[in-house]
């Protein structure tokens, strides 16, 4: 077992893939590096199989939506059971038509993770064997984890919009008060005359 730091792993990656692998980010807590979209499968396979690295566990695969930069980042968290080191990779995809090659061939677990990202972010994974929605129904409109997602206001006639129950209570309360006010002047008026 030889635990390497993220910097060492990154240096090995840059040696091998040149400018397909971007610089390691400023260590804002956890650093990451951005990999060119076309090379991600190669990079992943290298990281998984290279002796001494063996990042055999795809810990997490998810995405982040950045409307301001007009990209969706797909994030790969890799970990090695043998060497206990890890690295975070990111791939940037165009927000209008996000397409990223699948790493399902490298780690089987990517199959479901990528389906989830496809479902909730609308990223298409090229070469994925079974790219279907996983959480939401097949005919759902939109991708909820995108920042600009708007609810359609219902699904097949089932409304998902509801008034705030407090508003409802307030209305009942107001109605009661109005009724009481209506009854009260009638009772109060004769007393005032007297």
């Amino acid at each position: 077992m030889k635990t390497r730091s993220t910097h060492e792993i990154h240096a090995l990656l840059v040696d091998r893939f040149g400018d397909a692998v971007g610089p390691l980010s400023e260590p804002k807590i956890d650093p990451f590096c951005v990999v060119k979209r076309e090379r991600i499968v190669e990079v992943c396979r290298f990281l998984k199989t290279e002796p001494g690295l063996e990042l055999d566990f795809l810990e997490d695969l998810t995405a982040i939506d950045w409307p301001k930069r007009n990209v969706i980042e797909v994030v790969y968290h890799l970990l090695s059971y043998t060497h206990r080191h890890s690295i975070v990779l990111k791939v940037e995809a165009d927000r209008a038509n996000p397409v990223v090659p699948t790493v399902e061939g490298v780690w089987k677990t990517a199959n479901w993770f990528e389906r989830e990202v496809y479902d909730l972010f609308g990223v298409t994974f090229e070469g994925h064997p079974d790219l279907r929605r996983i959480m939401l129904p097949d005919d759902w409109i939109g991708h909820p984890l995108r920042k600009d997602y708007q609810e359609a206001g219902g699904y097949h006639g089932l409304s998902n919009v509801r008034e705030n129950p407090l508003v409802e209570l307030k209305r009942l309360d107001d109605a009661k008060k109005a009724e009481a006010a209506k009854a009260a002047p009638a009772a109060a008026e004769p007393a005032a005359k007297a």
């Binding site: 810990e59 997490d60 998810t62 982040i64 994030v75 968290h77 089987k108 677990t109 929605r133």
Partner: protein, 381 residues
């Protein structure tokens, strides 16, 4: 889904396509399986998940950092302590806050009790799925008692909301320590009793031995974690190998599957690893309760009321009852998280089923699902 159901059904064969679930007692929540069978033997079972999807990750982007804590409970309500802890650790890493030692001890105690409770449900429902009702009742009896102690500690029996960003909500109540130690004395005797009752029962063992074997390579490739991973013989435990909180101070073993009844990575291994883990958790709680008196009284670090970490991102890992639970939290410098992601063990455990199920008997699918100990809301979040 319809296309999926109707494709490749040959009307002249014995082949059938069945819906197994979504409301089925052995699916442990609302999960559907589309089972393609040829008589009693399955061609494959395709899991269809998402019935409990509540988009908790989106909620995390709306409610602000401390406000998200009660929602984490709902990710895994059988072992909610871990969901709390993982999220708290992630935000603490973003804030660069050091948790006081006593709070770390309290976290370890509450989490390990919660692990015992969760495993009792896990192994209990597994025996019930196989057809033995009594052991489950025994398991739930012990779990009830643990729930009582956790209730005394934090006021809730299921969705605890006990861990806070920077510490925990309450210190130990008076007399709690002795009561729990007395319970653990009884519980340590309960485990061998449970083994005599069901684990080494010949019928039960044969029912699980060499059924639904998940090899080491498959387990790693499919991203299985926790007891499911260790059942396949991978020696990995986040508490020991990437220690966090108070765990470096405790001594405990990490049980791994040895093929006790048949092959390494079969249903029995996954089951028995959980039984052994309960004994280890009991050891950890004992050690923590013995040393907690030496820790200073502080249980909360100084955390601003308006939690506003600087921009950055982090991943926190905890060893939940269902394996590694990771929170990936991205901050953009405001008081709301830009992205909260919960990586859960049940999700990846479900993904292995389609591959493993081919060639299994329909009845063994039940054994496979319960041996993976999946919790439906943790899959769907």
């Amino acid at each position: 889904m319809e296309k999926l159901i109707l494709r490749r059904v040959d009307r002249n064969s014995e082949e059938m396509v069945l819906n197994f679930g979504p409301q089925h007692p052995s699916t442990h929540g609302v999960i559907n399986f589309i089972v393609e069978t040829d008589g009693e033997v399955m061609k494959r079972a395709i899991p269809d998940v998402g019935y409990l999807h509540r988009s908790i990750e989106k909620i995390g982007e709306v409610v602000g950092y401390p406000g998200f804590m009660p929602f984490t409970d709902r990710i895994d309500y059988v072992a909610a302590m871990f969901a709390n802890e993982g999220y708290a650790i992630a935000v603490e890493k973003l804030l660069k806050v050091e948790v006081p030692p006593r709070a770390q001890w309290l976290r370890a105690i509450s989490c390990e009790l919660c692990r015992i409770a969760s495993h009792l449900v896990g192994v209990g429902t597994m025996t019930m799925d196989i057809g033995a009702f009594t052991p489950m009742v025994h398991g739930l009896r012990e779990r009830e008692e643990i729930n009582d102690y956790i209730e005394a500690l934090c006021g809730a029996r299921l969705t605890y909301n006990y861990h806070r960003i920077g510490g925990v909500a309450f210190d130990l109540p008076e007399g709690w320590r002795d009561k729990v130690l007395a319970f653990l004395d009884r519980f340590d005797k309960f485990l061998p009793e449970f083994d005599r009752l069901i684990t080494f029962n010949e019928i039960y063992k044969r029912r699980l031995a060499s059924v639904a074997v998940i090899s080491r390579e498959q387990a790693i490739g499919y991203g299985l974690v926790g007891p499911n991973l260790r059942g396949s013989g991978v020696d990995w435990d986040v508490r020991r190998d990437m220690p966090y909180g108070a765990y470096p101070h405790f001594k405990f073993e990490v049980p791994i599957g040895k093929g006790w009844a048949g092959t390494v990575g079969d249903c029995f291994d996954r089951y028995y690893v959980r039984c052994l883990e309960m004994a280890e958790s009991s050891k950890i709680v004992r050690q923590a309760l013995e040393t907690i008196a030496q820790q200073p009284e502080e249980i909360m670090a100084k955390v601003p009321r308006n939690v506003k970490p600087e921009a950055g991102e982090t991943l926190s890992r905890v060893e939940s009852a269902r394996g590694e639970m990771a929170y990936y939290v991205v901050s953009d410098g405001t008081n709301k998280a830009y992205r909260v992601r919960a990586r859960t063990g049940s999700f990846t455990a479900m993904s292995v089923i389609e591959d493993i199920s081919s060639g299994l008997m329909v009845a063994d699918l039940v054994a496979l699902i319960s041996s993976l100990d999946v919790v439906a809301p943790e899959i769907d979040r």
